[in-house]
């Protein structure tokens, strides 16, 4: 029981190309914030259509026979998936220097990724996952709509990876005048994760004086927290401005709050996140 109530840095491991980077980033977070690390592999079941036939008749005891056939198919599939997952989890564990992390555990869970996240949400401190999972490697759209909705409902920090691991030295904190952004700022100030990073506090606004005041106030908080930082007030279209700034300064990661309203709301998890991840393969941390 004790262990279950603990909060974990949770890394979603699968066979996708991003999987190794997911493990590396998760290990880095766990190490830096001194939190236990959990590697989770989900077993997504198919529809068990191997024994389909269209003979359309009802034979005596067909119900029991069909349950038996379907259970046997599913058992075989589950065993296969579990074995494959174990290999993946072992590989992931080997990558991790467990001595620097309080605790490392691996877990397998039946169901799709979104079902798993709903079931395990109480254990999550930070969720680390790749932009595209194994099954969606070829898809252009990135995160599936189903997962996106689950993630929206999940009120936990989410770290999305799309590229090889590089220990972040710098980060961009997208900031505006919303509660979500202020909360994100608060979390950044409190977390040990950013102690060794250069924080770029960035705000996009046409109103120069108000923007400057906002940055000044936020910058003061960062200073109080002892974080090395610089601020930038950008103009123009928020998406492009942020993207451009991130590329220009070659920042190692981006941190955003959950913007409940305002201009950045639609950018929060939609096209902007995706664009950013694709443009520079640097991870994004969504805080709520």
């Amino acid at each position: 029981m004790e262990q279950l109530q603990q909060k974990w840095v949770m890394a979603c491991v699968d066979g996708s190309p991003n999987s190794e980077a997911v493990v590396d980033y998760a290990a880095w977070i766990a190490k830096t914030v001194q939190s236990p690390l959990e590697l989770v592999h989900t077993l997504e079941h198919g529809l068990l259509l191997e024994h389909t036939d269209h003979s359309g008749n009802l034979t005596p005891n067909m119900r029991d026979d069909l349950i038996k056939t379907l259970s046997e198919d599913e058992q075989a599939e589950s065993k296969k998936l579990i074995a494959e997952g174990k290999v993946l989890l072992e590989k992931a564990k080997v990558r991790i220097d467990a001595s620097l992390i309080p605790q490392v555990m691996s877990k397998q869970h039946h169901g799709s990724l979104d079902e798993t996240l709903v079931d395990l949400q109480d254990e999550i401190r930070v969720l680390v996952l790749g932009l595209r999972g194994e099954d969606h490697a070829e898809e252009e759209t990135g995160i599936g709509s189903q997962l996106e909705n689950t993630i929206r409902a999940l009120h936990k920090p989410i770290f999305i990876v799309n590229g090889a691991f590089k220990q972040p030295q710098s980060m961009m904190l997208a900031y505006n005048d919303t509660d979500g952004a202020r909360k994100a700022l608060d979390m950044v100030c409190k977390s040990p994760l950013y102690k060794l990073m250069q924080v770029h506090l960035v705000h996009v606004s046409e109103n120069e004086s108000a923007g400057k005041a906002l940055l000044l106030e936020a910058g003061f908080k960062l200073q109080e927290a002892g974080l090395s930082h610089q601020t930038a007030l950008l103009q123009g279209d928020a998406q492009n401005a942020l993207l451009h700034y991130q590329q220009q300064h070659n920042l190692d990661m981006t941190v955003m709050g959950a913007f409940s309203h305002g201009k950045l709301r639609s950018l929060f998890f939609g096209s902007f996140t995706l664009k950013m991840l694709k443009a520079n393969n640097k991870p994004i941390l969504l805080l709520r």
Binding site: L49, S55, L66, S145
Partner: protein, 497 residues
């Protein structure tokens, strides 16, 4: 979240669902016609019903992949209504049944399904199978030998055709039976009854029409008993079928939504000139076997059924009844739980009695609701009789103080109070009596009353009576425990029994 789940339910298995939908549609046609005949209405009533219910439940139901349409279970309830008042009253009764089912959904009555034990469920299915079989008998009595030969040949095709290499698993064998028997009858010019003799077939798409009945209390009192029976039986079969499908596909379903969905489907059916129906256990199993898993399979089945029926109704008319009877015997054999017969020897007697009582009462009343009610009541009584055995009273006597101590252990409730009182010796003359109940459980006020009676009686005999541990014992008295799923609290109340 909801939309995403919806998308998966609808389009998660497009190819499998459409193919299975075709198989199911082909099997639904003979069944819909057969069930219309059971209810005593034109075949088109059952066919319109099957279309309307399948299409609507695909959208409104709580169990993706389950097939609902006109069914035998509901058809047998309508016979007298149709006979005495006619079709329009049946349509009105279907609509009212739907309203009741929606109400049942809002009242969370689906949770009552947990009172239906496995024995009752098997009894339900066996009774349903027998009802379907009995309904075929009129077609098999006072007929020429041709009918028997055709029916036997039809059954042979149904069971053997799937073993034909390659095509056996591609073409539904009931369809082959219908085609072959029709061809034989037409080619040889055999004079047997055909579906066309049974009444009107659909020739147009269904239209929305309010049933032509007077909207007054008199009508309500006529249809209400039928509607209530249809609503109950429909929900029973639907929820049981949903459970079977849950188990089969290892997925969950939304039972509350299913109740309301069945209601909407029946209202829609009544408005489109169809009779009420519910989920069909046989068809749902065929759907799963054929690879149907999503809502699209049910939807496809409904749409295809209508298209086929409207455009080939002339051809439907020449299908010999023998082909239909063969298909329905297959459904009957497939619905019956054959294992339940050898299991009668190995199962506890009480289980067999519950199962048989469900079957017998159903066949007696032609109402599955009464059968299930009998089964449930019997199962509860057997349960009470079993628990009654878990109670004992130990006696001890202390000579020095002239004190008799009774230590009660176990379950005290209405059924065990007589036994409880019987343990006490009222003729014994002692100074003090201690009744220690801290390891007993008082389940109801009968138990408390019995204890009061014992105490009073002992006092009348001149003893000082002391009851120990009544607080612990009566923790089980309240109707709702705040223990829920807390193992620690349950362990405390149950005191390690």
């Amino acid at each position: 979240m909801l939309l995403a789940q919806n998308k998966k339910d609808w389009f998660g298995n497009i190819r499998g669902d459409i193919l299975a939908g075709i198989v199911v549609a082909l099997a639904l046609i003979p069944e819909a016609i057969a069930f219309s005949i059971i209810a005593g209405v034109d075949p088109k009533v059952g066919l319109y019903a099957s279309f309307a219910i399948a299409v609507i439940i695909a959208i409104t139901g709580g169990r993706p992949g389950m097939i609902s349409a006109a069914t035998a279970a509901t058809a047998v309830l309508m016979v007298t209504l149709v006979k005495e008042h006619g079709l329009e009253y049946l349509l009105a009764a279907s609509i009212l049944a739907g309203v009741l089912q929606i109400l049942a959904g809002y009242l969370n009555l689906h949770t009552l399904i947990s009172f239906i034990s496995r024995s009752v469920m098997i009894g339900f299915l066996n009774a349903l199978a027998i009802l379907i079989f009995i309904a075929q008998l009129p077609e098999l009595t006072n007929v020429t030998w041709h009918v028997y030969a055709l029916t036997a040949f039809g059954l042979m095709i149904i069971y053997l055709f799937p073993y034909v290499p390659k095509i056996g698993k591609l073409i539904p064998s009931p369809l082959v039976t219908i085609l072959v028997l029709t061809a034989i009858v037409l080619a040889m010019g055999i004079d047997v009854r055909t579906i066309g003799d049974m009444g009107a077939l659909p020739d147009t798409l269904p239209i929305f029409l309010w049933p032509d009945v007077p909207l007054n209390l008199e009508t309500l009192w006529i249809i209400l008993p039928y509607s209530a029976a249809i609503a109950v039986v429909g929900l029973l079969e639907s929820l049981m079928t949903a459970q079977v499908l849950d188990e089969m596909t290892d997925t969950d379903s939304d039972k509350k939504r299913e109740c309301k969905g069945q209601g909407v489907a029946n209202i829609g059916s009544g408005l489109m000139g169809g009779m009420a129906g519910c989920a069909m256990i046989g068809q749902s199993i065929i759907n799963v076997k054929s690879g149907g898993r999503g809502r699209l399979s049910t939807f496809t089945a409904g749409i295809l059924l209508l298209i086929m029926v409207v455009f080939i109704s002339d051809w439907l008319a020449v299908i010999p009844m023998a082909a239909l009877v063969a298909v329905m015997i297959m459904v009957s054999i497939g619905t019956f739980n054959w294992k339940s017969i050898p299991e009668m020897r190995t199962n506890p007697k009480s289980a067999t009695v519950v199962m048989l009582a469900t079957v017998i009462v159903t066949l007696w009343t032609h109402n599955l609701a009464f059968g299930v009610l009998t089964g449930v009541v019997l199962a509860a009584l057997f349960m009470a009789a079993k628990l009654q055995q878990f109670m004992a009273v130990e006696k001890s006597f202390d000579d020095a103080t002239n004190t008799r101590t009774y230590t009660v252990v176990g379950q005290v409730f209405f059924n065990s109070t007589e036994k409880f009182v019987g343990y006490f010796d009222f003729k014994e003359a002692v100074d003090r009596v201690i009744i220690d109940v801290h390891r007993a459980h008082f389940w109801d006020i009968s138990a408390v009353y019995a204890l009061d009676k014992v105490v009073l009686k002992l006092r009348r005999e001149g003893a000082e009576v002391e009851v120990i541990g009544l607080n612990e014992a009566s923790e089980t008295l309240v109707d709702k425990y705040a223990v829920h799923n807390d193992p620690a609290k349950i362990a405390k109340v149950m005191g390690g029994h």
